[in-house]
Symmetry: C2
Subunit: 531 residues, 2 copies
């Protein structure tokens, strides 16, 4: 076997210490091993990474913000310079389309996100400075003084990569060192990103151990990464089973744990909308549900459709599209197994397969997009089982007799990232929409009207989060600056502290067009004067 | 035995259902039982309370904000009308002084806090509205749609009472029903507060089950209050042991749990400050450490003092004050036992008793204020044991040889609510202060200069929180509107939602001088126009 690729630990790329095993990417298209072999890190290596991160945490917490922002911007530029290599690698390892997905959407989204984080650092928007001159109190968010560990998912090799995505950018913007546990399905992409990141870090004059990268660890080492007081916080994007195991370890140690774990993203198609534009909606749903082979956290997994003539036409139309679709490729053999198991669960619970029966038996991880259907009565009898997430191009249609039944279905949903309503342009559905919205509102992070949930803009008004079990906390988003940054920050209050001993953002003199809440008013002015 | 007092469950004061036992307050001064007997609620009663809260949660979440604010204001006025009765009851049950403490400080603080919560509701400041017109996204914090359970502590019968304090006001302001598990040491005070609250709630036309009150529950019922998905969030103020048991239950169910659990609030007296005003500092420390018999979360429990002539004079002066002080009364026999055990732990670990040996043997829960001392060398050998919290009028002085040793001691502290620095007015300590501040900054919620930590202003710039284990999350405060409210809120994003279907706070027309972050600028104007 070839030499194992190096890990980024304690400030440098180095050979793995006593590796616990090795891994290799596989082509989703053929199932064959590709690329170099990478180490599974030993417990000792994990210990060294944590110790190295802790050793630089204090220094990184007091780094000059301009240097942090400069690093994030230089990293974004470095990604753009190596875009062709990154896209080629990611395409090989994930089978996601080069264009538009990887080259024209996900890569620009990733660099844009790094630059938005840099801007939040330069503008101090993430710090949310508050000044109460009468009480002599001032507060702002600040670094945790401890490393943040990020676990990246399989489905976004750039935009959610543990070494380049929103969790990474957020933790760095709040001036915390990051230990990136990248996803082992795309080690080559991650390694190249890590190389670009580390070069930019050193060029910015920041401590070399502020960014570290591991490809994989054994289960008993995971406790070191999340379950000890030395860790300041954890960002996790992935499946619910793994997320809950890590969450329990973090909870027991008092470590804030931000997990995005699962979501079936219910979509309600109201009667008027179906009557008005049912065929267009069938196409819109099909496109959203099968985009990226349906491997999106916000893929529309459940559709609530009236048991009416327009509803029946919609289902027939959608089923035809699913049946006519070409087979799609998933990321891994495990992913295919999980998808098949979830479909089996749904069928065992009473859902009927309406389209997509024709699976191919060929190498690689291919599946036919599938559409299932179940009556609301049955759904309400087994709501938990029929909310099993099928991660891939699979949709479950729940047929409802009337609005009252749609409301009952809405109330049966667990916490989700999103819920969506499609309504008639003429306002004919607005009574039903008004009844549904408050019920859905408290169950999801993002409530959408007349648009599929798969687009997740990087915006300060975004919430890519939701109530448990979709994520671990209903008040935080993992996407959108500056909110995402505050997950990895402490609230720092200063009581009777003289101006010279305050951080610049809280001094009387505004450090430069920073929005601050001063005595109840948002302003960019100095305290007690002009500006 | 007299008839058990009623509980407030399912919208009305009613007889306890199958009570699991009874409790009675005791006079801290004499140790004798006083007042009426109160029920320990059965599992069935807890189940009924949770079911009743869940049944009104949706309706309460969509209540008109003016009605919520009106209720909070009417409740504050009701407390003021019954102030004499409340103060007399609380004095009997806690032995806290009528004046200034209960009548002139804690009661006005409580009503002020309720009114600040009402103001945050009227001004929508807690909702933090964000509008991104280009992306078509808008977000604001909103209700959880589930009940919040509040556990109140023994040490503030008004200001942190589960039925009247900051957690209560915060959860109601975010439009969540509250189940108040008040502290069994002051049941009479809590019952009267509950009566005033419930009258105000009904008068405001809000659902009667939106506020419920239990005095005590058995341990196995606690899981129902914190450890099931029906609960939206929990606020807890109390001891670490109990807090961690409840936290584990909440964590396992994915319920956000905000606990304030313990803190020894280190105070660093720098050399120049001692030389300049050592005697005044001894008095200031003594007063803060013994205020309310030292039963404050922010009581200065550890002092770091140089091993210098000025330091020695300070310690002698402080010791003399502790020895000369009258005995002080604690809340309970348990509290006295815990305090004595903590002092024993500190002594067993090498701390020497410098003052307060002369305990009295008389009825009630009396103790002599105590001052202990230990060398930094010993402290650094057993930092965990020597950070045992002695909840009461007890201080531990850690003697340091130089600034380097003070820095090492600073780095040994666990997460605390506060840390304090006293420095020379002439700037002579500023190098030491500058070295200490970043080390303390990441370990506490509030960093104080030249002021004792026992004052906790209700201010938007306050952080009455801190890193674990002082609380359960480093980014939230339990005191200070509007921040405290956001603990019990979900982040609600709206994607492509037409103006008429948005909540008023996010519509184009500003609902009235609300500060909103519109396209990166804080403004009270309408979107896309004047205002």
């Amino acid at each position: 076997m070839a030499r194992l690729q190096p890990v980024l630990v304690a400030g440098a790329w180095r050979e793995a210490v006593e590796p616990a095993g090795s891994l290799q990417a596989r082509s989703p298209v053929t199932g064959e091993a590709i690329g170099e072999p990478y180490p599974v890190s030993s417990r000792r290596e994990v210990e060294e990474a944590v110790a190295a991160a802790c050793a630089v945490a204090q220094r990184f917490a007091t780094a000059e913000p301009g240097r942090i922002a400069g690093f994030l911007e230089a990293y974004a530029s470095g990604i753009e310079r190596r875009a062709a290599d990154l896209v080629a690698l990611a395409h090989l390892e994930t089978a996601l389309p080069v264009s538009p997905r990887l080259r024209d959407v996900e890569l620009p989204r990733t660099t844009g996100q790094l630059r938005q984080a840099a801007r939040a650092v330069r503008e101090w928007s993430w710090a949310h400075p508050v000044i109460d001159t009468a009480a002599g109190l001032r507060s702002a968010y600040g670094p945790l003084g401890k490393p943040v560990v990020v676990f990246g998912p399989n489905n976004f090799p750039f935009a959610f990569n543990a070494i380049a995505g929103s969790d990474f950018a957020s933790a760095i913007a709040a001036r915390n060192p990051v230990i990136a546990k990248v996803h082992p399905l795309h080690p080559g992409t991650s390694r190249l990103l890590g190389t670009i990141a580390h070069e930019a870090l050193l060029a910015a004059g920041l401590p070399g151990a502020a960014i570290q990268l591991l490809y994989h660890v054994e289960p008993d080492s995971a406790a070191l990464l999340v379950g000890q007081a030395a860790i300041g916080g954890v960002g996790f994007t992935g499946g619910r089973a793994g997320g809950l195991v890590l969450k329990a370890l973090a909870d027991a140690a008092g470590v804030p744990f931000y997990a995005e774990m699962s979501s079936i993203n219910p979509v309600f198609l109201l009667e008027g909308a179906l009557a008005e534009r049912g065929a267009a909606l069938a196409q819109e749903f099909f496109a959203s549900c099968t985009m990226g082979s349906g491997q999106f956290c916000t893929s529309p997994g459940v559709l609530v459709v009236p048991r009416s003539a327009a509803g029946e036409r919609f289902v027939a139309e959608a089923a035809a599209r699913f049946d006519a679709a070409p087979v799609q490729v998933l990321f891994s053999a495990d992913g295919k197994r999980h998808l098949e198991a979830a479909v089996e669960t749904l069928r065992a619970e009473g859902a009927e397969l309406r389209a997509g029966a024709a699976d191919l038996d060929r190498p690689g991880y291919w599946v036919q997009p599938k559409l299932l259907e179940v009556d609301a009565e049955r759904f309400l009898e087994a709501p938990r089982a029929l909310q099993a997430e099928a991660f891939g191009p699979v949709g479950l249609i729940v047929r409802v007799a009337d609005t009252a039944q749609a409301l009952a279905v809405a109330e049966a949903f667990e916490g989700n990232l999103t819920a969506t309503l499609y309504r008639a342009a003429d306002g004919g559905d607005d009574a039903a929409a008004a009844a549904l919205m408050p019920r859905l509102r408290v169950r999801v992070g993002r409530l959408i009207v007349d648009r599929m949930p798969t687009g997740v803009a990087v915006s300060p008004a975004q919430n890519h989060g939701g109530p448990y079990p979709s994520t671990s906390h209903p008040g935080f988003t993992s996407v959108g600056m500056p909110g995402a940054i505050r997950r990895f920050a402490g609230l720092h209050s200063y009581d009777n502290v003289p101006d010279a001993l305050l951080p610049p953002v809280l001094r009387d003199a505004n450090p430069g067009d920073v929005w601050r809440l001063v005595d109840g008013r948002w302003t960019t002015a100095d305290v007690g004067g002009g500006g």
